[in-house]
């Protein structure tokens, strides 16, 4: 390593006293941490989006860890994500002769982060409401409806829609049917059940992207 390690920009006191705005913390960490560190701590992507999903405590923790473990830029074998993604795109999708049959393995996986009541499960056609955050595999947050502060949370509503009726990407339709009220789960959805070959350039979703959502099922009507 040619350059000297980065130095702390703020003291513990300053961090504890709420002097440092979240966005500054995020910017500092993004500028100085290794890519893998950022990915592990979910600090990649648009600063605004990251600010929405990370609490101050989490950021301070990450900041301290950065210095403890010295996971600065250039310290890991940086996975060149563009090359990985490019390789995925050049992978010719398997030729299917007709429309894929509905049977077949589900193109998503779910891990439960917080258990629900395990009794109330939505049926097709029920209206469900959820808070969610969507990230790409490289950790970039592309969409969320979780507001930053508790005050704002009162003003915003969770996303409501009729589940199982094709109004949302298939990974959601199928995934939410397996969740119970109050559950928070991590859904990893293959691109076929998300935005496929086209992606969604407006929302910064590249072609053939696997999407990762943290979803909290708030209510079922």
């Amino acid at each position: 390593m040619m350059a000297a390690d980065p130095v702390r920009a703020w003291s513990d006191e300053q961090l504890k006293n709420e002097e440092v705005p979240k966005k500054d913390l995020i910017k500092f960490i993004q500028e100085n941490a290794a890519h893998s560190f950022l990915a592990e701590h979910k600090l990649l992507g648009n600063i605004k989006n990251v600010a929405k999903t990370a609490t101050k405590e989490q950021l301070v923790q990450a900041y301290n860890q950065l210095f403890e473990k010295k996971r600065f830029k250039g310290t890991d074998v940086d996975v060149v994500t563009e090359q990985v993604e490019a390789a995925k795109i050049s992978d010719a999708p398997k030729e299917t002769k007709t429309e894929p049959a509905d049977e077949g393995p589900p193109k998503f996986t779910k891990s439960i982060l917080k258990k629900g009541d395990k009794t109330n499960f939505p049926k097709k056609g029920d209206t469900v409401s959820c808070w969610y955050t969507g990230t790409l595999e490289n950790g970039t947050v592309f969409d969320t409806n979780i507001p930053t502060s508790a005050k704002k949370k009162k003003q915003t509503k969770p996303l409501s829609f009729k589940v199982g009726t094709g109004k949302v990407i298939r990974g959601w339709d199928e995934g939410l049917l397996t969740m119970s009220k109050g559950e928070t789960a991590r859904l990893e959805i293959e691109s076929e059940w998300a935005y496929g070959k086209k992606g969604l350039p407006d929302a910064k979703i590249p072609p053939n992207a696997k999407l990762i959502f943290e979803v909290e099922l708030v209510s079922i009507d």
């Binding site: 002769k97 007709t98 429309e99 969507g134 990407i169 496929g196 086209k198 979703i205």
Partner: protein, 592 residues
């Protein structure tokens, strides 16, 4: 002298108890006050008005002076300006809010077209002040104010180029920005209600007025405006206006995805449902959709999880609305929205049951009208491009059903020809290994072909008018006979051939021969006539008038040109027909 009169009436009124002023008192105050202001004695008027003793008089009668005040303030002559501003501020503070509101709105309504922008920007802050004084009862007044203001503002011409938007000569941009400032406190009030109660009643009056305002703005001026993207115009007041309107909608509890999907909501017998329809005019929602998906306005408050097919379904209603208009700006927006909705969908993915939705058929028909009738060439070209894009997105069965429907209903040779070309491409695709399907090979293909290989009027069909269709049909037939070997007969064409010959090829040959003979005879006669007499060309059977002007008769040279080109056209048809006849003859024909 007016000033004396004013002092007199004011003094007299000071003595009257309980505000029992007579109509004459009102009149005198009004005429005297107005004259004073117009004559430039605003300083004295001000001192009379601020006098504590006159408080009641001012509250009841002060608003009458608004008219003359506003005229002076609009003229912007500096001498009296500070006093007039002071009078206005005082009136706003002390006068009866209801009367002030009426007075101010009258001024807005009566502004002539040249001074709309000035009047509106002058009076927005006073209006806001007065409305806020109304407290809990302000909702209907806010609605009335917004409606009056918008009616005037929408009379202003909409800037078209980016330079026009920057110059803002007529003031639309200024007014829109000012309107946003105007509604701010009311929006904040609703946000507070939401925050405190965690919800808000759909029927909260103020919320409804704000909703009406947003909906109205979406339809006018926003539907008319073509927003410039940030690369073209970094600071755009109109883009900011559009963004803010969507944010306001969201803040007052209208979910943008829900708004979008209103078009596909199943009709339910809900009390007050008609009211709901009126609250959400389709045209406004069409504009909303265009802003979201084409201009990418407020895209960060719109969830990225909706399925692209669902979004397309919702948007079809709006596309249908826009494409059924004749104004080029609406057509342009309709085409853009259709295009943007289609490109998100995978090729070959839309299922056939979508075609049962009315819009999935009516939109292509509207599109055909644009492609064939719209005077603007760029729109016609774009229409065709989007038409092909829409075809590409259907799955195989849906394509089949779509082609069948279009052939039965379009009655336009160019469109039919285009569809037939698509059919040929589908057959070609289906003949490739592993692409077999029932629709463009096998049992369903033949009924479709019967629609392709037919002459609407038998041998008497006008070949020139139907040229596009005939050429494409013949090309298709020729292709199939060459590509599909008769011993394979994957398409079934060889077993069908005798029927095609009887129903199509033979009548076509007959018609062709007749037409050629006729035109060649005509050609000969015109050439002969020309030789005989150039001056005395035989009188035409009819004259053609366009816009009261008679068109000149076609000269013999022109006639010859037209006839010649018809003959060439027949030769063209003949060449393909001849080739087909050759191919058929060369093969061993199965039992006919």
């Amino acid at each position: 002298m007016a000033l004396e009169q004013l002092c007199d009436v004011v003094q007299r009124c000071q003595a009257i108890k309980d505000e029992g002023f007579s109509p004459e008192d009102y009149d005198l105050f009004f005429t005297a006050g107005r004259t004073c202001i117009e004559q430039g004695n605003s300083a004295q008027v001000l001192s009379i008005l601020v006098d504590e003793k006159n408080k009641n008089i001012v509250r009841c009668m002060g608003w009458n002076l608004l008219g003359s005040l506003v005229q002076i303030l609009l003229k912007k002559e500096d001498r009296n300006l500070p006093h007039c501003h002071a009078i206005l501020s005082h009136l706003l503070e002390v006068g009866s809010p209801k009367e002030l509101l009426v007075g101010l709105l009258e001024q807005v309504e009566e502004a002539d077209s040249a001074s709309i922008a000035e009047t509106v920007t002058l009076l927005l802050k006073p209006l806001q002040t007065v409305l806020l004084r109304l407290g809990m009862k302000k909702a209907s007044s806010v609605g009335m104010a917004l409606s009056t203001l918008l009616s005037q503002v929408t009379r202003l011409p909409v800037p078209v180029t980016k330079e026009q938007e920057e110059d803002d000569v007529f003031g639309l941009c200024r007014c829109c920005s000012a309107l946003l400032q105007f509604v701010k406190p009311f929006v904040e009030e609703i946000k507070e209600v939401v925050k405190d109660n965690n919800r808000i009643s759909k029927d909260n009056e103020l919320r409804v007025e704000l909703l009406k305002f947003c909906m109205k703005s979406l339809s006018e001026p926003l539907l008319e405006v073509h927003l410039k993207d940030p690369d073209t115009l970094l600071k755009s007041p109109l883009r900011d206006f559009a963004t803010e309107i969507l944010i306001i909608l969201s803040s007052i509890g209208e979910s943008l995805p829900d708004l979008l999907s209103r078009s596909v909501l199943k009709r339910r017998e809900v009390p007050g449902f008609l009211e709901e329809e009126v609250r959400y005019p389709k045209e406004s929602l069409a504009c909303l959709s265009h802003l979201l998906f084409v201009d990418h306005i407020a895209v960060d408050i719109f969830p990225a999880v909706l399925s692209p097919v669902f979004v397309l379904q919702c948007n079809m209603e709006y596309i249908e609305l826009l494409l059924s208009r004749t104004e080029e700006s609406r057509l342009q927006k309709g085409l853009e929205l259709y295009e943007k909705s289609l490109i998100r969908v995978e090729d070959n993915s839309l299922p056939v049951d979508l075609l049962e939705l009315k819009t999935f058929f009516s939109v292509p028909q509207n599109l055909v009208k644009v492609m064939t009738l719209c005077p603007d060439q760029t729109l016609r070209t774009k229409g065709l491009k989007v038409f092909q894009l829409s075809i590409d997105k259907f799955n195989t069965e849906a394509k089949y059903k779509f082609f069948k429907g279009m052939l039965k209903t379009s009655h336009h040779a160019g469109v039919e020809g285009y569809i037939i070309k698509n059919i040929k491409n589908q057959i070609d695709f289906s003949l490739k290994p592993c692409n077999g399907n029932d629709w463009f090979l096998g049992k369903y293909l033949l009924p479709l072909l019967r629609l392709v290989l037919c002459l609407p009027h038998g041998p008497e069909t006008d070949l020139l008018q139907n040229l596009d269709k005939i050429m494409e049909s013949l090309n298709l037939l020729r292709y199939m006979l060459i590509r599909d070997k008769e011993w394979e007969n994957e398409t079934g064409i060889w077993t069908e051939l005798y029927k095609i010959e009887d129903n199509y090829l033979k009548p076509l040959r007959t018609g062709l021969n007749m037409s050629k003979a006729h035109y060649e005879a005509e050609l000969k006669s015109v050439k002969e006539n020309k030789k005989i007499s150039s001056k005395d060309s035989k009188a035409s059977v009819c004259t053609v008038t366009v816009d009261h002007e008679k068109l000149p008769h076609m000269t013999p040279e022109m006639q010859i040109q037209v006839l010649q080109s018809a003959v060439f056209t027949f030769d063209l048809i003949e060449s393909v027909l001849g080739r087909i006849e050759e191919i058929i003859e060369a093969k061993e024909r199965p039992l006919s």
